[in-house]
Amino acid sequence: MRFPENPVLTKELRTRMRGTRAYWILFAYVGLPSLIVFLTYATYTAFQSGNGQNAFQLGKVFYSTVFTIQALLVGIITPALTAGGVSLEKEQRTYDLLSLSLLPRRGIILGKLLSATLFVALLLTASLPLASLCFLLGGIAPSQVITAYVLLLSCAFLYGAVGIAASSVAKSTTNATSLAYTVILILFFCTLPLAIAGITGPFGGNGVGLTALNPIGAVSSGINSEVYFGLSLSPWLPALLVNGMLGVVLTVAAIHRLEYPRSDRTPLLRTLCAAFTLLLAFFLYGFTAPQAAGVSGNSLMAVSILTLLATTLIAAIFATGDGLPTSGGLIRLIFDPRRLRTGDAASGLLYGVLLVLICGAVLYIGTTNSSRPASLRLVLLSLSLLWLLGTLGIWFSAAARSRWAALTATLAAAVVVSVGPMCTQITVGNSPRRPTVLDNLLYLSPFPAASELSGSGSKSLRTPALLFQAPFRMVTPALYGLLGIGFLGLAERARRASRTVVPPAS
């Protein structure tokens, strides 16, 4: 079989190694870990008296040092390689000619991404001599080193995809670069607790999963195993699947973003996002959800927070867009299942429902019988939160007609709504706080409702000042439902207003 030729890949590979820059990167990439390993060695020998056992120890220390530094370097270098992929071409005014050729859009994006990944592969290869030092000292299995390399490469792919997606979205390379690093930092710090838990041992008696998502965890926990819904897996597999899938989603999003003539890849993109949601739900619920071994209120809270967070993100990402279609009734635009194929804000709400239901199904099937009622209530609460934020997103999209403004505003509103009311409960000193009218704001936040999900939930938040003596888990969804209808009304008004602003074609 012959590989189809990709001129962009050829070009990138050809020019990447020209000049001195590539060699400086290579030099720094090998030099920095070498230096640190040497210093580690120096400090180590200063404190230890040498014997055979210590060589093993030293091997392990070397291994984690070499690969942790590499993990950080991969995180720093890869996005810089791809974040200019599209935007730099536009800035240098080479993009028009490139996009006019018969190259398919995916060829452009994949060529750039692949060349960056291959360059990182070259860097990884250059670090082989250092890694082999660990073998020399012993204490490390070859499989550990191999998985570490594979996971680093998958991280390179993911970070490269983040860079290229940022590049296809942002107006300039500067923006693309800062966007890419921001996203990567968020990804890094969100997954870091899992990695640390994987290294130092699990928290609070429960198992921990997805420890290898973070590159730091990836290189250090190669020998543990993780249990998802009773299924025992080696950490590299979930990490490879989740990071790889996220990378694929971002790559397709980048291809989808390239402009006219745009081949609409919404169906593909939405299918991939649904698959990613399923994957993530399986792995995240797999170790946080109450298991047959014992129902724990603590883990139910963790599940609730995860689900509500996911719902917020789903609403903000999918139920926002650059304005709404101007023709057709708003209700039909939102609820017509055939419109799932389109990518606008209105159809995003129904798609969000689908994603939340996927999460709910995984949770319901995965948990024990005794926690199923609670998971059903959680799905209901999530759906109502999705309704609230989704309609809000649709309203913002219709009013602002800018995806990024709507997305930011929706996220900000979500934070205010969920965290704001909780702030009223802050007490100063030891004196018990007195109930006030402000306590009614608690109905707005999903968290009091979430704390009541398991039938025996705490009632500590219920104060005499509350208007309704029904549980939060009933009042909050009802309130969300009503507010959502109000937002839809506002969205319709904004849509009408924008329709009349458009100047008549003369």
Partner: protein
């Protein structure tokens, strides 16, 4: 079937209509000069034809294929040279051409020959192994032309190919365009300066504020716009009054203007009738120093047509 066909092509930006219902047809072998002041909508029109911009309404067809419906098929038929373009750093001239040849799916074995041919045509053969960013502006322009030729397109869309070049480089580009014309290519070439295009276009269109004011073969346009010839007559000072009084009564003379030393006469008669004017003057006792038909060129047409409209 016309090779290029624009029907009521229109492009609206957010607040501005850049192209207002433009219609045009070109036959194979036509060289169409697209002339208009900056901001008239030339680039926008060419980009729509090049499948880079989506028309708001109207139809653009190349070889019968609708540009909006099947951009991929149109792309192999056209070679587009943008008004402002960049080149890749760290790329050699032959690599640049090879890259685009590959991007246009030219078979690998044909590429070296095609590259040499394109370099030869654009007289860049010596620069084959030079880095692209070391070329002079004129050479880059020629390299870009070489690039547009590499997949042997039927239609060339050249957006201000000579802008920003020194006179020598301009002439080189002009010579190159003449060669392309000889090769039988259909060319749309835009410019905001006329003399640049005058000698090799078969037809021209003048666009202003998104509207094609006049279009057609050069001679036809001259007739349409000027309605005839301009005669320049030089007479001594003392006879000038007499001549000015006498001329309007001569048949076919439409107007007489004094410009400095000369009298400028708009004349709508045929070439044979033209001598009647001289005869009338001499019979009237006017001493004629010189009598000549003014060279009317595109410049005049341009100035006349766009008079007062320039924003």
């Amino acid at each position: 079937m016309p090779l290029v066909e624009l029907v009521n092509l229109r492009k609206e930006y957010k607040t501005l209509v850049a192209v207002k219902g433009l219609s045009l047809t070109l036959e194979p072998g036509d060289i169409f000069g697209f002339i208009g002041p900056n901001g008239a909508g030339k680039t926008t029109t060419i980009k729509m034809l090049a499948t880079l911009l989506e028309p708001t309404s109207g139809i653009a067809r190349v070889n019968g294929i609708n540009v909006a419906e099947n951009p991929e098929a149109v792309r192999s038929l056209i070679g587009y040279m943008p008004d402002a373009f960049g080149v890749y750093d760290d790329f050699k001239v032959w690599e640049y051409l090879d890259f685009f040849a590959a991007a246009y799916k030219v078979p690998k074995i044909d590429r070296p020959g095609l590259i040499d041919m394109a370099l030869d045509l654009t007289t860049l053969t010596e620069k084959k192994d030079a880095y692209v960013d070391e070329l002079s502006r004129g050479m880059k322009q020629r390299l870009c032309l070489a690039k547009t030729l590499i997949h042997d397109p039927k239609v060339l869309l050249l957006d201000e190919p000579a802008s920003g070049l020194d006179p020598r480089a301009r002439i080189e580009i002009k010579e190159l365009l003449k060669e392309l014309k000889a090769m039988g290519k259909t060319i749309i070439v835009s410019s905001h300066i006329l003399p640049e295009l005058a000698d090799f276009c078969t037809s021209v269109g003048i666009i202003e504020r998104g509207e094609l004011i006049v279009a057609g073969p050069i001679e036809a346009i001259m007739k349409q716009v000027l309605g005839g010839r301009v005669l320049e007559i030089r007479v001594p000072d003392i006879d000038r009054e007499k001549a000015t009084a006498l001329l309007p009564s001569v048949e076919h003379v439409k107007s007489v203007k004094r410009i400095g030393e000369t009298l400028r006469v708009d004349y709508s008669g045929t070439l044979d009738d033209q001598s009647e004017v001289l005869l009338a003057l001499i019979h009237g006792g006017v001493r004629v120093q010189s009598f000549a038909e003014q060279d009317t060129d595109l410049e005049d047409i341009f100035l006349r047509v766009t008079k007062g409209l320039v924003a």
